[in-house]
């Protein structure tokens, strides 16, 4: 049974998430660098490529903000700030090993509610600057949300169903012996896809995609841009990290302590996502929507039915 984490964990959480985000972004930059300029010849060169996101962050810190005509700055700002905020709030129920900053009895629903804030956030960020391309980006995220949210909810419901509890700690405890990924593979795959979608990153970059010149982030510059894009990495880390307690047994594992296993598993999931992204183009919602509703919704429902039958007969 997980016990309450000490108060300092509240302060440590955002920092830890940020560090994880920087490391992930660095790994991604390393892979991008080898695609653009060939594989790095020296360790020094690889290191330079890996710190590129940090350099970019510093550049954004000193960059002038951009103003647009008749912008709705209040709502735009709100959207920008909501992204990292949603990520950290969702991260509060993320167990490190067997402890989370908070482990409410409805932790799974809490997680889902916080990431739903991203719906509002991206749309607001796209709406704020009064620019056609950024508004297109904002709308795209709503379409994306409609496509990923239902299969996503069914996937996490399946995990809760398997544990017969909405408490994240109970879900982890229920996986002692057999990880959920073994008997809920469809839910796991759908969860990973929707994790990318809600972080609007990689193949689900559609709301920020290059064809709309950066979509919802087109007009963002300076600190706004740093907060928004940094928040996106946080969201990616949190959503990828949440697949560990849901499907990969949380901190369970031999020899090593719980937190180490959590770290290893989270890193593995993130590495899989960052590397897997290189194999895929951006999925446009007019195509993905149909797949989500015609294939993934029935698939996740069947998966949930299977799990329900197993649970009833246990």
């Amino acid at each position: 049974m997980p016990d309450a984490a000490p108060l300092w964990a509240t302060v440590v959480l955002p920092v830890a998430l940020a560090v994880a985000a920087v490391v992930t972004a660095g790994f991604d930059a390393l892979l991008s660098g080898s695609a653009e300029r060939g594989s790095a010849r020296t360790v020094r060169e690889a290191g330079l490529r890996a710190v590129a996101p940090l350099r970019e962050a510093l550049r954004l810190l000193v960059q002038q903000p951009r103003r647009t005509t008749a912008a709705d700055r209040l709502l735009g700002r709100l959207g920008v700030v909501l992204v990292p905020l949603a990520a950290v709030l969702a991260g509060a129920v993320l167990p490190w090993g067997f402890r989370a900053v908070s482990d409410p009895s409805v932790g799974i629903v809490w997680f889902n509610a916080m990431e739903a804030l991203a719906w509002a956030a991206v749309w607001l960020a796209g709406w704020g600057p009064n620019s056609a391309l950024s508004l297109i980006g904002g709308y795209r995220f709503l379409a994306q949300g409609l496509a990923y949210e239902l299969p996503h909810m069914f996937a996490i419901t399946t995990a809760a169903l398997g544990a017969e509890s909405l408490r994240v700690g109970d879900v982890v405890a229920a996986q002692e012996g057999l990880w959920f990924v073994v008997w809920m593979p469809a839910a796991f795959v759908v969860y990973l896809l929707s994790a990318l979608a809600m972080a609007f990153w990689g193949p689900f970059e559609y709301p920020l995609s290059r064809d709309a010149a950066g979509g919802a982030a087109t007009e963002l510059a300076g600190v706004d841009r740093l907060v928004f894009l940094g928040g996106r990495w946080l969201l990616l880390v949190v959503t990828a990290g949440f697949s560990v307690p849901l499907f990969l047994g949380g901190g369970q594992g031999p020899l090593l302590p719980g937190w180490a296993w959590t770290l290893i598993k989270t890193a593995a999931v993130l590495m899989l996502l960052v590397a897997g992204r290189r194999a895929l183009p951006v999925l446009r919602m007019e195509r993905y929507m149909e797949v989500a509703w015609m294939v993934m919704v029935p698939l996740t429902l069947l998966q949930a039915l299977f799990v329900a039958v197993v649970v009833l007969n246990r």
Partner: protein
Amino acid sequence: MLDDVIFWVLALLAVAGGVMVFRFDSMARATYALLTSLLCVGGEVLLLGLDYLGVVIVLMMTIEMAIMAVFMVMYMMNPAGLMPMTMVHNKKGAAVICAAVFAVLAAGILLAPWPSRRGKPSDDPTMDLGLSLMGPQMLTMMTLGLALFATIVATVVLATRRGRYDRFGDDLKARTADDAVRGGTGR
């Protein structure tokens, strides 16, 4: 004590958000003022010890308002409120009615002899709710389910312009649908 502070903050925010819904010119702002108000409602429900329902309200309202904003911008003239204009009718009469309604409700609330608390909440109200919905309140649950299903069908029928005969031809034999935009399952 802390609960009192939270109650008042949330209550004032909820009322202020509710008022601002009808004062903002910008549709986007009005929608998000309503979201603020409803999120505060969710917060109050959490405060009352209904964890599950409170969080579900937050989840549902966020998504609902995000979608609502799109419809607002799509159908309303002047969505950004850049050109101040009012589109109201019978403001005075409505104000009188609403003030009267509030006065009556408030009088009733303050004067009614409310029964004292009977029993105490179980450890897991969420479980109570589930057992109730799947037991004594099964009929409610089934009605809700049917209503939601009917809503899905009705909204699609109302909102769409094209049926399957438009998409697959009069004999429904076309192999691929005749849509403006091609979908992802290759049908």
